[in-house]
Amino acid sequence: MDIFGKSLTELRDLIKSNKISSKELFSYFAKRAEKYNSDLNAYLTMIDFTDHSEGDLSGIPIAIKDNFCTQGVRTTASAKVLDSFIPPYESTVTRRLKEAGVLFTGKTNMDAWAHGSSTETSDYGPTKNPWDTTRAPGGSSGGSAAVVSSFLAPAAIGSETAGSIRQPASWCGIVGLKPTYGRVSRYGVIAMGSSFDCPGPMTQTVEDAAMILQVIAGKDPYDATSATEEVPDYRKQMTEKRTLTFGVPDEYMKGLDRDVEKKVEESLKVLEKLGHKVKRVSLLDPKYSISVYTILQRAEVSSNLARYDGIRYGNGRDAFGSEAKRRMMLGTYTLSHGYYDAFYKKAQKIKTLIIEDLKRVFDDVDLIVAAPTPMTALKLGEFEKYPFFGETMDVLNEAAAVAGTPAISIPCGLDSKGLPVGLQFMGNYFDEGTILNAAYQFEKETNFFDVLAEGRKKYE
C-alpha cells in the first residue's frame, strides 16, 4: 500500500478499517528513519514497536521531541548533561498520547535545553533541513519539524517557549500549533522558561493538529499552572462556516525578507477572497517583547537549570554548553540582589502591557495575521552572523509567547530559492478553535500550494 505522504487522519482511517496493521505502519516509518536519519540527524533515539492502547489514535506513530520525559526511554533535551538519563516517569503529554493508542517512533533532536532557533546548539550535532541539507531546520523543535517534513513520522510533538514550534514549522513547510499557555500540561517536560513553555502538535495538516491537540489538552493535577477551562471539540470548531476579521499589524510587516512579505501579502488576498475582512492594526513594537522575553526567560532558565548537579541523575555542571551557561549567567545577574526590580519586575510589568495591547486588538479582530519569522531557512552556521540570532528569528513570535496566547504557523508558498514560507495566525486566549478554523479554510482553498509534496519529492 502506498503510505507516502498520508496524513495522520488518513492513516487513522486505514488502521480503523484494518487496511494496514499498526505493526506494518510502524515498521514503514522505522525503515524510512533507518534510510534517511543518518543524513538528517533528526532522531536522537529510536523506539521499538510495542503493544498499544485502543483509543482515538490507535496504532498511530508519532515522533516526540527529546525534552518530554518518556518512561524507560532515554531523554536528553539534546544536552550532554542528561546523556544517560532514563526517566522513571512519563510526561502528561506522552501519557495522554499513549492512552489514546499512539506509538512513539523516537525522540527528536533539538537545540540543547531548547535554547536556540536552529537546532545547531544540540550537543549531538545539528539537524539538517530536509528541503536543503545545507540549511538549518529552525528550532528548537527542529528535529520534530524535519521528521514530519521528510515523512519519517506522520506527525510530531514539539514544544515552544518563544517560536520553537512556529519557526521550525515555517522553515520546514509544515503546520505548527502553539496552544495557549496552560492549555497543555508541562508536567514531565524538561523545564526551560516555566511561564512560557507550551507543548504542541507539528503536523502535515490542520486537521491532524486539531486531533492531536484534542488528546493532549486539558487540566492536569500535576501541573498547577494548567488551565481549568473546558476543552472544546476542536475539529467541530475547525469546520464551522465562519467569516472572520483579521488584523495585520503594521509593526510586524517591517523588516521582512522581500519574498516573505510578498507571500504574506498574497495570503491576505486569499483571506479576502474567502470573504474575510482584513484590516490594518497597530501593536507595541515587537522589540519590547524581545526584551521582556530575554529577561524573564533567562531568569527562569537560571532557576530551572540550577537543579542539574549530577547527584541524583545526569552529569555535573561542567557538561553544560556555552549557550546554556550564557543564559544561566544572564538570569543569575538579573535576579541578583539590587537588580530584581530593574530587570525582572520591570519585564513582568511590560508583560502586562503586552497582554493589554493584544487584548485591545482582539476586541476588534478575531485573529492577528503575520509572518512567523522574517526569513526562510538559513544555511547551517549562518546564525553566527546574527548577535541576537534566536531573538531576530523569533521577533514575530515573542508577543504571543510573552502573553501566553495561542498561534499557528502554516505553509503559504515558496520563496525564490524554492524554500517554504510560513503564515501565522495569532488568536485570543483559549481560542485555538478560531485559529484552526481559519487555518483549515486557508488549507482547503490553497492546499498550502502543495508546498510539502514539493519539498519531500526526494524522500519518496
Binding site: 522513571p88 498547577a224 519590547y288 529577561i295 547527584i311 549567567m329 541578583s336 537588580y339 486566549y429
Partner: protein
C-alpha cells in the same frame, strides 16, 4: 555591578560563582561582552512608562491551585526508581560531597 552595562571580569566571575558554573579564563571576556550586549539591549524597556502597571506572572492569572486533602500522589517514586539514574549511591542513598567538617 552597575546596570548600565559596564560589566567587569570580576562581575562575570561573581555571577558564574552564584550560578555554580566553572568558567575558563580564556572565556571570561567572551561572556563579559555577550552579557553586556544583552543587558544593553534590554534596557530599551526603560522607554516604556510602567509607573502604574501591575506585574504579571501567570499569563491567565491562575492562582491558589491546591490538591484536595487526601489525594493519592501517584507520582511518588519507589526508592529504586528515585535512585536509578544516580551515578553514586550508598545504602540506598545519594552520595554527596561533604559540606561541613
Amino acid at each position: 555591578m552597575s546596570k548600565t552595562g559596564d560589566l567587569t571580569k570580576k562581575d562575570v566571575l561573581h555571577i558564574a560563582k552564584l550560578a555554580n558554573l566553572q568558567i575558563q579564563d580564556a572565556n571570561i571576556e567572551m561572556y563579559r561582552t555577550q552579557l553586556e550586549e544583552t543587558i544593553n539591549y534590554v534596557e530599551n524597556l526603560d522607554e516604556l512608562d510602567t509607573s502604574n502597571v501591575e506585574p504579571t506572572s501567570h499569563s491567565t492569572r491562575l492562582s491558589n491551585i491546591y490538591f484536595e486533602d487526601g489525594t493519592k500522589n501517584s507520582r511518588q517514586f519507589t526508592q529504586k526508581e528515585a535512585l536509578q539514574n544516580a551515578k553514586s549511591t550508598k545504602k540506598s542513598m545519594f552520595v554527596v560531597k561533604r559540606i561541613m567538617e
